[in-house]
């Protein structure tokens, strides 16, 4: 694993939430990355991913992301990372904490300069529909008129 990606997306998400600076987080993604958040359309490329996170952090802050499982397999110039974590987010509107249990599947691709960038990123929730963070994601989408 010493040869694989060393950055933790979860840590970057928490830091970006705290600092308001999404650049270090977005720098993990390849220019042509596919980003697939639940209950939202697919986001294509680093620029759209930056906008997505800026949107997200305008509505939520991340209180904690506690990783409960991580499996990293490096195979040639690809690396496959599967994580599970319990995330706590706080809507900026009302401040009530929301806890969710989430899995991610991340594909990293080694770049010509040797650095690793994310080429594919998808996640979903273990919790029943209507519970956890996705309930609030839905409200966010409706607010933005993106619910259809």
């Amino acid at each position: 694993m010493s040869d694989g990606p060393s950055e933790s997306v979860n840590e970057h998400v928490v830091k970006a939430s705290q600092s308001g600076d999404v650049k270090p987080l977005v720098s993990l993604f390849a220019d042509d990355a596919l980003f697939m958040p639940p209950n939202d359309t697919t986001v294509y490329g680093a620029e759209e991913i930056r906008s997505w996170w800026e949107d997200y952090f305008s509505s939520f802050s991340i209180a904690s992301n506690i990783q409960t499982e991580r499996d990293m397999t490096v195979a040639g110039n690809q690396a496959f990372e599967r994580t599970a974590f319990t995330g706590t987010i706080v809507p900026k509107k009302d401040g009530a904490k929301i806890v969710d249990d989430i899995r991610t599947l991340i594909v990293w691709k080694r770049q010509p300069d040797g650095n690793w960038k994310i080429s594919h990123f998808i996640w979903n929730s273990i919790k029943p529909v209507g519970a956890g963070t996705n309930r609030y994601m839905n409200l966010m989408m409706q607010k933005k008129g993106r619910s259809s």
């Binding site: 958040p37 639940p38 195979a75 594919h120 309930r135 994601m137």
Partner: protein, 155 residues
């Protein structure tokens, strides 16, 4: 370095077609035949499924409740690097509850990591999917009911 492959040179295409056929037919054996022994499957709003046996149980339960009505895949990309392949798919589907009721439509994405086996065949090693539709619509509304055992299976 792995690169996206064209449809013509895509060694996973026939496997994907078999997956779609098996899903549409409710053919659990067909789906399971495409899974690696150590498959990890992460369906939305449900706990993670580890290994082929649990994978079989999951699909057997699924088809107790639902049957496929339609499946289309408007977008798909494959990246192959050595013995691993990353397959992204965007799909639209319709399923119907076995116990009766109207069709349920959903749109989603799946990400599957395939692993080449010693015999040269490809098997799904890790997979996850989610819906692009709002919460409370699409199939996940019914999946949730299934998990809560509010829909009685027809045996």
């Amino acid at each position: 370095m792995g690169a996206e492959v064209s449809k013509k040179e895509d060694p996973l295409l026939s496997y994907r077609q078999e997956w779609i056929r098996a899903f549409k037919a409710g053919d659990v054996d067909g789906l399971v035949s495409l899974a690696a022994d150590d498959i990890v499957c992460m369906s939305p709003n449900d706990t993670t499924v580890y290994g082929k046996d649990e994978f079989r149980d999951w699909w057997e339960e699924y088809f107790q409740y639902f049957k496929s009505v339609a499946f289309a895949e408007p977008e798909r990309s494959v990246v192959i690097d050595g013995d691993f392949a990353t397959e992204h798919s965007a799909y639209s589907l319709a399923i119907a509850p076995v116990s009766g009721g109207g069709r349920i439509r959903d749109d989603g994405r799946s990400l599957s990591i395939w692993k080449r086996q010693p015999d040269g065949s490809w098997k799904i090693w890790q997979m996850i999917w989610n819906s692009t539709n709002p919460i409370g619509s699409g199939t996940n509304r019914y999946m949730s009911r299934m998990l809560q055992k509010k829909v009685k299976p027809k045996r």
